[in-house]
């Protein structure tokens, strides 16, 4: 075959494998959702995952939340004071946090902390034949490994986002009001007047979508670590983990834009 023919064959093969991969990923989600109603019981394992995804992320979320709020307070005060409208600081800080930064930064932090760990854990189970062992015990690996993580993610992401928002708003208060001297009454009043339920909904819808995306991508990458290459080695797990973090982060940002443009 000539070289251009070869190229077309390769391109076709690549395209097909990508499409098959997407199909497999879709089926993976369906199996995981389907697994919610299958035995074994999920209460205990879900609680364990809530502890891991939620509780163990708390420190990181509080820390990043505080500094995001503080930098918003700083930047907001500096910009607004140019127009003499420091009174809008509360509205600016809270709206940016609740609509955008809260859900996005929370999701990115949890992806980095828990998503990578979830992917590595499941990937190791794959290469050590533990997933095969589950199958041969007639325990559905989707139901046993994936579904509880989905429940835990869907519970944790909105809660972590709320915590991030609240701490961020106090961070903005600390810098804008306590340090730079904006009016405290105007700060809280601005929040009260400007933040509506639709802003809060938007934040939560984002948090839920990001939860599904992060858990889906992380578990999928781990579950199929090394399956396509057939090598089943440690490097497959590390590659899967890197992929999981990168793809989750990118899709969080893309989904953020899409949701914002739909809901606005």
């Amino acid at each position: 075959m000539n070289t251009s023919g070869n190229f077309v064959v390769k391109l076709g093969g690549w395209g097909l494998s990508k499409i098959l991969g997407l199909g497999r990923m879709g089926m993976f989600l369906i199996y995981a959702i389907n697994g919610l109603w299958k035995p074994p019981g999920k209460l205990i394992s879900t609680i364990k995952h809530i502890y891991f995804i939620g509780h163990r992320s708390l420190f990181v979320i509080c820390f990043t939340g505080a500094f995001s709020g503080m930098v918003l307070g700083l930047q907001g005060y500096y910009t607004l004071s140019k127009f003499g409208s420091e009174g809008l600081l509360g509205a600016a800080v809270s709206l940016s946090l609740i609509r955008e930064l809260g859900p996005v930064l929370t999701a990115l932090m949890v992806t980095g902390r828990a998503g990578s760990a979830i992917c590595a854990e499941i990937g190791i189970m794959r290469i050590e034949e533990q997933i095969d062992a589950l199958k041969c015990m007639a325990i559905d690996p989707h139901s046993y490994l994936i579904s509880p993580r989905f429940i835990a993610g869907i519970i944790c992401f909105p809660l972590l986002t709320s915590i991030f928002d609240v701490i961020g708003i106090y961070g903005g208060y600390a810098i804008g009001v306590l340090l730079l001297g904006a009016n405290p009454g105007a700060y809280w009043d601005g929040i009260y007047k400007s933040v509506g339920w639709d802003d809060v909904y938007m934040g939560y819808i984002k948090a839920l979508v990001f939860a599904v995306l992060t858990i889906w991508i992380s578990t999928y990458k781990g579950f199929y670590a090394g399956v396509d290459s057939g090598s089943m080695g440690a490097e497959d797990v590390s590659k899967a983990t890197t992929d999981a973090v990168v793809i989750s982060s990118v899709s969080i940002l893309v989904a953020d834009y899409v949701i914002t443009s739909i809901l606005l």
């Binding site: 533990q130 015990m137 325990i139």
Partner: protein, 268 residues
């Protein structure tokens, strides 16, 4: 050997591929019930691949593998669930869940598939661990066990549901001769006392001839010999003799020449 009708597993002209590379060629054999069936062969001859076909982890073409007379390629997921509940599998690596203690590993299938109370499950788990010589280790994590202990723990887990068909991939690799002999005795008593059918992959000749009722010798993805231990022992096939007499590949002499060459290079 028995016919397709009475055998518990029948394999007919099984071919197997990884990508485009064929690793099993025209494999056919029958496993009669209540026996120990040993699969032997040098490393890389395709034993684990054959094993994975039999336990349903590698998709099989039509009319290649029959279990109790049913073509497994036509099984639906409910048939697989039923089959998987009736077998026990020990993987070559042990495949213990490393976030759980030994006790939890062995208890898992019981917790999922039975309604037993936790007291009874505890007793059963203790019993299985005792059978493989690991009583007293029930609270250890897999990472705290030696390689041979992981193997035995994997066997305890495979036995948890008292399966009628037991698949074990190299149970005694990594074990000392005494523990390995104990494991052989365990497999024999499982067959005799519980009527289990046991399919064992091994390269230990001695243990294979001790426990095997039937054996299959594989080489490079093909069957070299298949039948009772006597018939395999008396086989005239040169590769079988070579395998049984543990001779290295023809290269024996070349090896010596190679070593001499190496030494002469160093002494120069």
């Amino acid at each position: 050997m028995t016919s397709e009708a009475t055998s518990i597993i029948s394999v007919r002209d099984l071919q197997s591929f990884y990508g485009r590379r064929q690793v099993l060629f025209d494999i056919s054999f029958d496993v009669p019930p209540h026996c120990i069936f040993v699969i032997m062969g040098v490393s890389g001859s395709g034993k684990t691949t054959l094993f994975r076909h039999l336990i349903g982890l590698k998709p099989t073409r039509k009319n290649a593998v029959f279990i109790k007379g049913e073509d497994i390629s036509e099984w639906k997921s409910s048939d697989w669930q039923k089959y998987w509940q009736s077998i026990g599998v020990l993987f070559q690596s042990g495949a213990l869940f490393n976030s759980m203690t030994l006790k939890e590993n062995v208890a898992l299938p019981l917790q999922v598939h039975t309604e037993l109370t936790s007291d009874i499950i505890d007793v059963m788990v203790e019993m299985k661990l005792y059978m493989v010589g690991l009583s007293g280790f029930s609270d250890y994590m897999p990472a705290q066990l030696s390689g041979g202990m992981k193997k035995r723990a994997g066997l305890a887990r495979a036995l948890a549901m008292d399966p009628e068909l037991l698949f074990v991939d190299e149970p005694s690799s990594g074990l000392d001769p005494i523990t390995a002999a104990g494991l052989d005795d365990l497999l024999i008593s499982l067959k005799d006392a519980f009527g289990m059918t046991v399919i064992v992959v091994t390269h230990e000749l001695e243990s294979a001839f001790k426990i095997g009722d039937y054996m299959l010798v594989m080489d490079k993805g093909r069957i070299l010999a298949c039948g009772t231990p006597e018939s395999v022992k008396n086989s005239k096939e040169s590769r079988v003799r070579q395998f049984l007499e543990r001779r290295a590949e023809e290269a024996g002499q070349d090896m010596e020449a190679y070593l001499q060459r190496l030494c002469s290079v160093r002494s120069r």
